[in-house]
């Protein structure tokens, strides 16, 4: 068979390949069993074998119109409309709008005249201003194909809207949705194929031979190939076209086509009229559906009935492709040529069935995936109208007691708030994306926090065909986060208050007692001593408060300057050495070599930090030990490490180590490490503490190294 046109087979193959990939990647774990048998049987009454008017049976054109998704009008040489085929447009409109009907009748009556003035294949514009392709058929009648519009021509759309107003058609919405838009050039191509098919069938009837029927079959194949497109694929349309074609070439009359799937599905009438033979076959099928090889049994049964009861020959052909089996049968007087048509079309039907089954499976699976995703997903067309939404989105709406918007409703006004709605409208029309956005929508009890993305639904040509909104309801996490923050704030406030109470009440108690004692003692020297103490205690209170305030603001107005850390340590060495000596501690210092270890900060603050940590280590090693201080430059960070082999820090204290007023030392303020930690943080560094009980503690300070730009 020839697979020359429209790239349809290429798409067919790629769909299989895609599904195979999905399967290999274990995304789709298994395919449900595909329908095993599909039978199209054709039954023709050869009442008028030489009558060339037989092919114009409405079923044939109807099938063709559905396959092409176009309007087909047949007009006789006098301009009378013989038949109009398109279930959607504009037949429905005609009945409702008399002025539209009048305009079209006027147009049709002028077709022969228009054709006389123009060349074949040229476009004409109908009363709505939509392009139509026009051709004269072999028998002298005219074929009009079209009623569609170039999609990316906003001016044409505006004109159409205006014309509809003139013709008093006001319910435009339905009209738009019924439009399948196509470029005029494409339409001309379709027309050429349709005319070729028509003429080949016509030739077959005037000279019924093998080459003629094969030419006709090839033309049918070309038309079917047009629908092998993921967007337009329609098994029913293809089956109807095949069945109608066979009905036509079988000579019409009470011909019909039907199909069924194995096992146990009822018969489906594709094309033609019901007859007692169909009814009998349907009953036969029911009784046969459980036999081992139903197609074969059915074949012999039909052969027996048709050949004995109606003196007709029956031919049936089975073809299996990718697990789908088509059974195509034809009943008629002339067997030889039909058999060739059968052989050719059964292949195509098998492919169509296979694709349809796989795409049904795929859509089903995709639907499952789509609905299993917890995020809400809403897909809109390029006007921002909702095409579909998943379960997650529906649950979101019902969860907030909002009516779930229906498909076809605009996103605007759904309650997503201006920010999201605008993003959807922009993405639907352009190729702009909005990623990782957050919005709060609604108020009071129904306040919701959303994290969302809006991406355009890009077609192959790069234009936006719509938008996809993916959103996450983060209301609960946000609420929880706020609550935790509140708790933390309260807890920290409580800790600080407790710490302050401990620290302040000591000098306060001393001061108060001192005042009471001053009143009680008569000795002036003693009074003087108590007053001095009082003053010192008041100073202490002030110091505690100052220290406390410095935790949050450790370096008020100190100048930031490049500081060489090795140099700072060197300056502290004298002090640390003497403290280490007193406490029987070995002090080991390893300075980094090479590039100077420079950071940006205040030398005083850094000294304070180093001294603090070194003293902590020394004081921790009550029974002596070893303190190693080492510096290094690693990955653009200056590192200073204090390692002791003291008793270590119990696990339960680790979390609170750097909190204000935490101390295990008698007389300690619990502010040292807290202040050190915030100084390091202010300098853009980290202070990390690792400890293991009985082995010692390591404090690491990592600061961003300063690069001299000059």
């Amino acid at each position: 068979m020839v697979h020359s046109t429209a790239g349809g087979f290429h798409k067919d193959c790629s769909l299989y390949l895609f599904l195979a990939c999905l399967k290999a990647g274990r995304i789709l774990l298994s395919f449900p069993q595909l329908p095993e048998v599909m039978i199209i049987t054709l039954y023709g009454m050869p009442d008028s074998p030489g009558n060339i008017h037989v092919p114009w049976r409405p079923v044939f054109w109807e099938a063709l119109a559905r396959t092409l998704k176009m309007t087909i009008a047949i007009i006789d040489p006098k301009g009378r409309l013989l038949s109009l085929h398109n279930p959607l447009y504009p037949a429905a409109m005609h009945q409702k709008h008399p002025s539209l009907v009048a305009a079209f009748n006027n147009f049709y009556s002028r077709v022969p005249q228009i054709f006389a003035e123009r060349k074949e294949g040229q476009l004409v514009f109908d009363p709505l201003g939509l392009p139509e392709s026009m051709a004269r058929l072999v028998d002298g009648s005219f074929l009009l194909l079209g009623g569609r519009l170039e999609e990316r021509e906003p001016q044409r759309l505006a004109e159409l809207s205006e014309r509809l107003s003139d013709l008093e058609v006001f319910d435009r919405g339905q009209f738009w949705t019924q439009m399948t838009l196509v470029a005029p050039e494409e339409m001309k191509e379709y027309l050429a194929m349709v005319v070729e098919l028509y003429n080949s069938i016509y030739h077959y009837f005037s000279k019924p031979g093998l080459p003629e029927i094969l030419a006709a079959v090839e033309n049918v194949n070309k038309l079917i190939a047009l629908t092998f497109d993921p967007e337009h694929f329609d098994l029913n349309a293809i089956m109807e076209l095949i069945a109608s074609f066979l009905v036509a070439i079988a000579g019409g009359g009470s011909a019909f086509a039907f199909s069924y799937e194995y096992p146990g599905r009822p018969l489906t009438l594709w094309c033609g009229e019901h007859s007692h033979i169909l009814e009998t076959l349907a009953d036969d099928w029911k009784t046969l559906s459980r036999v081992k090889d139903p197609a074969k049994t059915f074949d012999s049964l039909v052969r027996e009935r048709v050949e004995n009861e109606h003196a007709l020959t029956f031919q049936g052909i089975t073809r299996t492709r990718n697990g789908a089996t088509v059974y195509l049968g034809l009943i008629g007087k002339e067997g030889g040529h039909f058999r060739k048509a059968l052989v050719a079309l059964v292949k195509k039907a098998a492919i169509a069935l296979g694709v349809s089954s796989l795409s049904t499976v795929f859509q089903h699976r995709w639907g499952l995936v789509f609905n299993s995703i917890r995020q809400g997903i809403i897909v809109t067309d390029n006007r921002g109208m909702i095409l579909m939404m998943n379960q997650g989105a529906k649950q979101f709406f019902s969860g907030y007691g909002v009516m779930v918007p229906a498909a076809g409703q605009p996103v605007t006004g759904c309650g997503f708030g201006r920010q999201i709605e605008e993003a959807v409208c922009i993405a639907a029309k352009s190729n702009r994306s909005f990623m990782q956005k957050r919005s709060a929508i609604g108020e009071g009890e129904s306040l919701a926090h959303l994290r969302w993305d809006v991406v355009p639904l890009l077609r192959e040509d790069g234009c936006s065909a719509g938008a996809v909104l993916v959103f996450n309801d983060i209301t609960e996490p946000v609420k929880l986060h706020h609550e935790i923050q509140d708790w933390e704030r309260m807890a920290t406030a409580g800790e600080i208050a407790a710490g302050l109470a401990h620290e302040i009440r000591n000098p306060l108690a001393t001061a108060k007692a001192a005042i009471q004692l001053i009143r009680m003692v008569k000795d002036q020297v003693k009074q003087e001593e108590l007053l001095n103490k009082l003053e010192r205690e008041l100073d202490r209170m002030n110091d505690i408060l100052t220290n406390f305030l410095n935790i949050s603001k450790p370096m008020p107005e100190k100048k930031q300057e490049p500081v060489n850390l090795n140099q700072v340590l060197q300056e502290l060495l004298f002090l640390l050495n003497s403290e280490a000596l007193l406490n029987e501690i070995d002090l080991e210092i390893n300075f980094s070599t090479g590039k100077p270890l420079v950071v940006l900060g205040s030398p005083d603050s850094i000294k304070q930090v180093f001294l603090n940590i070194a003293r902590n280590a020394i004081e921790a090693m009550e029974n002596g030990g070893k303190l190693s201080i080492s510096t290094s430059l690693y990955n653009g960070r200056a590192q200073v490490t204090f390692q002791d082999n003291g008793p270590g820090i119990p696990e339960e204290n680790m979390a609170t180590l750097t909190k204000p007023f935490f101390t295990t030392k008698p007389g300690g303020t619990g502010l040292g490490l807290s202040i050190s930690s915030s100084i390091v943080r202010m300098m853009g560094g980290d202070l990390t503490i690792k400890s293991s009980l009985g082995k010692g503690t390591t404090v690491n300070i990592s600061l961003p190294a300063y690069e001299d730009k000059v």
Partner: protein, 137 residues
């Protein structure tokens, strides 16, 4: 028997048999130690003040005081543990706990015979002296 004790506490040598000391103060705050010492001495009570639990236990063991004033927050070892240890050494030593933050004391103050109460900072000097007088006499 003569006992040597910490010079840092400014103590002198004493004869244990003759002098049971009146009060031992255990608090890590220098100001509190000083003012309590001043107060108690003004009330004519003998007093030793120390700054940590270990020294406190040692001093109690050596001087068998009538009363120990113990800060509840004492760093690594808290005041309750110190009180328990004191009771094991001499069960007739009365304990007066001291705290700067009563609200934060989660551990129940054990209702033991030797605990006479919790002194809250800041305290009233005269009330303290009355309490000490009542306890020791």
């Amino acid at each position: 028997m003569r006992i040597r004790y910490s010079i840092a506490q400014g103590g002198t040598e004493r004869n244990e048999k003759v002098n049971r000391i009146d009060v031992v103060v255990i608090d890590d705050d220098e100001g509190i130690r000083w003012i309590l010492q001043q107060t108690l001495e003004m009330g004519n009570f003998s007093c030793i003040a120390v700054n940590n639990a270990m020294q406190g236990i040692n001093t109690v063991m050596n001087f068998h005081p009538h009363l120990a004033i113990v800060d509840i927050k004492l760093g690594a070892v808290n005041g309750f543990e110190v009180a328990r240890m004191i009771r094991q050494i001499y069960n007739d030593v009365k304990i007066l706990f001291m705290t700067g933050y009563r609200e934060a004391i989660t551990e129940q103050v054990e209702p033991a015979d030797n605990v006479i109460g919790v002194l809250e900072k800041p305290f009233n000097v005269e009330e303290l002296l009355q309490l000490v007088t009542k306890t020791i006499s």
